[in-house]
């Protein structure tokens, strides 16, 4: 029985993310269209900030030190660019390991919500380019979580400002 579970687990890990049934995105509880625009926008800002801080905390626990931190290049990911332009909301986690020489390997996209796959792929590609200062030993399962969330009110000015960065 234990062997079967392990085999299933291995099989799951080998299947591309796109082959899974993707979870629906559960939108954080931010004020909606009837609230002042600033309230919703500030709530979204705070959600992103909290997630960013959790990423910081996760990495800092490992003691890893960046040698180079790449950022996504949207022009090289047209599908991700289109998802941003369409203001597709969603979230995902990219999990990765770091070898003693500081290179990143075994990059996985997990908990990817429906519609956000191009952005998860773009971030996985980006994180593969990260390099760290040499470590004494390999570090496993570092998590980088992201959320894409937009104010619901129709605001053309802000629509022109895609979330290209972190």
């Amino acid at each position: 029985m234990r062997a079967l579970v392990l085999a299933l687990t291995a099989l799951v890990a080998a299947v591309p993310a796109g082959a899974h049934a993707l979870a629906d995105f559960v939108r954080p509880d931010c004020p909606g269209a009837d609230a002042p625009h600033s309230a919703e926008e500030r709530c979204i800002r705070d959600v992103r900030k909290q997630l960013q801080q959790s990423n910081f905390d996760a990495l800092q626990k490992t003691g890893l030190m960046f040698r180079y931190m790449a950022r996504p290049e949207l022009d090289q990911h047209p599908e991700a660019k289109a998802a941003i332009e369409k203001r597709t909301e969603g979230s995902f986690t990219v999990r990765f390991d770091v070898a003693p020489d500081g290179t990143v390997y075994n990059v996985r996209e997990v908990d990817v919500t429906a519609g956000i796959e191009p952005l998860a792929k773009m971030w996985a590609d980006t994180i593969r380019q990260w390099t760290f200062v040499k470590t004494g030993q390999a570090v496993a399962d570092v998590e980088h979580r992201r959320i894409y969330l937009y104010p619901r009110q129709d605001d053309a000015r802000r629509r022109d400002s895609p979330q290209a960065g972190l």
Binding site: R42, N55, F56, M65, F66, Y68, M69, R71, E73, G165
Partner: protein, 682 residues
Amino acid sequence: MMRRLHAAVIAASLALTQAPAGAALAASGAHSDSPLELTQVISRPKVVDLKISPDGRHFATTAVTDDGKTILHVLDRRTMAVVHSEVYDGPLGVGEFSWHDADHLLITSTWKSELTEGRGSAGIFILDLRSQDIRRVWGGEGSTDYGGFEGGELGARIDDQHYWLTVGPSGSSYSEFPYFYLYKLNVFTGRATRVLKSPSRAASFVFNADNEVTHAVGVLPDDFDSTVVHRRVGGEWVHEGTYRNPQGARIPIRWHKWDPDKILYRDNTDAQTIGYYWVDANTGARELIHREPRVDLDEVVFDDDDRAIAVKHQYDYPTYVPLQPDHPQVVRRQRLVAAFPNQQVSIESSTADGIEHVLRVHSDRDQGQFYLWNEYDGKIRHLLDPRPQLKAADLPQTRAVRFKARDGMELVGYLTVPKHKPAEKLPLIVLPHGGPHGVRDFWGYDMEAAAFANAGYAVLKVNYRGSGGYGKDFHYKWYRHWGLEMQDDLEDGVLWAAGAGIADLSRVCIYGASYGGYAALMGVVKTPDRYKCAIGYVGVYDLNIMHEFGDISRSKAGQKYLDDALGTDPADRAARSSTPHVDRIKAPVFLVHGMQDDRAHYRHYEEMRAALKAQNHRFETLLVPRAGHGARDLASVREVTCRMIDFLDRHIGDREPTDAPDDCQFPGSKKLPYEYFAGAPR
């Protein structure tokens, strides 16, 4: 007109390193106990500025070559290799620069000369890093001494292509306050659309969240010390207030980030120092954010919700006052500062995601090291040492001091003492700052103080009354008090330093530039027995000459300032001038002047020299033929500083007053015209 050279070779001098912060600090731990060579102390930083690109892939830096030319390099973060350089030939140099986006840099170029110090604008350019093409997007040529209004100044960014551009008409300068024009500039096409003309002279503009101009803040044409505020209502300017600065002013700064009814004002109409207020745009109701009772605030720090979380001021040392000590942003900053004890930390640039920051860390002994702070991994690493030949530990320390003037007023000063001598009974140089009104000294690295202290002297700089930053009365009430209480404050500083056991009262000289030169010569006129020597550098020696000659006198506003600050009675001005009273001077005098000086007109020097000669007084002179209000080029600065130290050595140092002056000739020296008049000993 402009030719661009690719100069990767020059970039080799940029010693960019990637070591943890601790390594750099440890490297500066080894130091010597003997003085440094003068050429080391006055050497200039090779790197002026360092900015990370929005995507974190590049650094852009400006570097200064040995001949004083400012050039720009772009480096690849991964390899630290220079991928692009901007080097202009002739008198052009790189001025300011900023990242427009990950692939484009906006660069202003400036005219460089010994007179203008690169202040004249020579246009705004955009550099495309992908194609390596550079194109001019705003002409705005012109050059002017002392900083004029020519050319355009890029303001806030409007969108992905446009910036606000404030333009002064060609030909305007310090002596004339022009109306300004506001343009909307497309930095990719160079197309500039004129939006409006300022309602008052030399105005700056305030914009709301929708990028509409809402206020203009300017000055009256005939009064430097005025503020004129206009509000824009329905496309028309409505006068909001005209203020005389000595009585205080209410000045709009910016709109609240979230509340469309609130605007931030700076206001000192009802208090001595500047306070910051949120003002309700509909009702005018004011809510005080913060005011320090004894010093103007440098800055109020706001969080993302526009709540004030801290303030910064510099009563003596740079001080950060948390208003919300537990706020995460305050805690974050305190952690950062804790990494650099006794130093100042500022964020110079950041990536667009706000994760990586270039830090500049500076102190009284270090003009600034560059570090990279990555908030993701929480690490700080040393990036660049702009003066690798100098170790901070080898340079003299400066501390803030407070003392009481004879009338009980508390004054702040900065005392620099030699590294290699105990701070007891030292020969002292009093170094009053220029200005005088509205200008002040701060804690930090000062090349002159470092050079003199390195030569064995204690150096005392005093924020005498009339200086800026300590409130309206401290600044304005002492107009027409040149040579009076303003002068006494310097002497009281000397007495404090002697009383504290730091200075030897029998070995004190006074040296200053511009107004500092006035104070130096007035010092030996007013209290002839207090000082053993005086050095005047581009100094004002006769208030009647200042009233009639020089650039300030050539405008209505300048004339009013001179009447206000110097007084209207020629006899009174003469009474507070040194040239008419050289007969009172006992101490040897050294005069240094730029022959093109139009601020402290050359005539001050000529008449003081003639008066000293007529008295058969012992004095020396040094002229800098191509300098205006102070020498700018390194060769002249080196010779001027060497001559001053030589003069000091012969009067309060280890040598004898009758010793022959040193040559002060260096390789590449300009051999500036120097005269020595032995005169009759007094």
